[in-house]
Symmetry: C2
Subunit: 241 residues, 2 copies
């Protein structure tokens, strides 16, 4: 299965001024596509740090997604960092400058030209109706930090990342987690490949724990679900979905 | 100033089933306290990985905060990972077992006893009215993944992490980011210690960019704000707060 690492770049996340909604979005979408996200890392706007972490993630995972740091201001350093990660220069891309000037029907100013400085040899992928393409260097996909734009861009190229999706069953349980932990342990003994999650909920009336069962194999998942239900007392199960 | 790293542990975050609200909370609170968060890392429930990353973060930062993986089920591996990070054993803590049994007025079952297995020599800090204390090993503070509990526990011991807080000014600007990027660049030339953030907003009518100016020095911050305002056209400033 394809694996992925996500790199969130921006002081505004670390200082608590902005809540990162991009990594939750990417995790949900990649899961649907069957891609395993193995790591999310959030770091400050620092060229050397971006370069080092991009390179490490690129070596470790099939796909890397970065978010943030590609605007026109002083703290937008992602393109420099990605270029440095692969020992490339940053060069002015004339096709991006031309798109900019076409959209605004006039010459690009200095700050706009900065946004057209991308790593040498980067691949450009058109993203729907957005004038700025997705920049890809090796296996690293460079996305903007603005959630609306990241979402649009990702959705327009998502078919490039298709694996075998997981299937999911949810079981809502009217017991405390410590009362069913043994049963879960035994279930995993019988179904070692099952991905089993157990999430206590505070403030819910109808159930205390949400169990999630996941597998890419529908038959295996159904057998594991049947086995789980047989291990729990009848009145312990609030709902299966 | 004290620095911090945050380690979020849990497959449920990476698979997109649960959105991490703990790192945004910790970032906001630590910022208020004057602690610099330098890194947030999210990883799966894997003992070896937890051990390696805890050790790396512990060596790099003054404080480390972990979230998740301390319940009674099969995927709760944080205590084992933290112990392994420092070459310690996991041992049964009788004071935690005793608290458990007092709360429920009866003997702890096997799964509950698992929750009392903590790294040898860990420090226990009472957390307000919660029966389970905060477990601290070296500079690593082990918090639960359930947001309500993490919040309660953190707030009850937050005074341990006090540094010199940042002061913040916000300037809402009626210009595109690329139109003011030059002014921001010049401002940073004059005030190199200023922490300056620039955040374009899509879908706002009254302004296009939110600028944040931060410093721990009130006089320096005010001078930088005055300088910024003198660089922007009068009609460009929507609001200062």
């Amino acid at each position: 299965m394809p694996s992925a690492g996500i790199l969130i770049i921006g002081n505004e996340i670390l200082s608590g001024k902005v809540t990162d909604s991009n990594s939750p979005f990417l995790c949900r979408e990649l899961r649907r596509l069957g891609v395993d996200v193995d790591r999310i890392l959030t770091i400050p706007d620092d060229v050397d740090l971006i370069a080092r972490e991009v390179r490490t993630l690129s070596d470790a995972y099939d796909f890397v997604f970065t978010s943030g740091g590609i605007g026109p201001t002083h703290d937008d350093l992602t393109m420099d960092g990605v270029a440095a990660a692969f020992g490339r220069k940053v060069v002015r891309n004339e096709s991006i400058v031309a798109r900019m000037e076409r959209v605004q029907n006039g010459p690009a100013n200095e700050s706009q030209v900065k946004m057209a400085m991308i790593p040498d040899g980067a691949q450009l992928i058109d993203a729907g109706d957005l004038w700025f393409p997705v920049v890809v260097v090796e296996n690293v996909h460079v996305f903007p930090g603005i959630p609306e734009l990241l979402c649009k861009k990702f959705m327009s190229i998502r078919d490039r990342f298709r694996g075998v999706p997981f299937l999911l069953k949810r079981v809502y349980v009217r017991r405390r987690e410590s009362d069913i932990a043994e049963s879960l342990h035994e279930l995993l003994g019988e179904f070692p490949e099952l991905m089993l999650g157990s999430y206590p909920k505070i403030g819910e009336e109808a159930f205390h724990v949400l169990l999630t069962l996941e597998s890419r194999d529908a038959g295996y998942l159904q057998k594991a679900l049947d086995s789980l239900l047989s291990r729990l007392p009848d009145d312990a199960v609030h709902k299966v979905e």
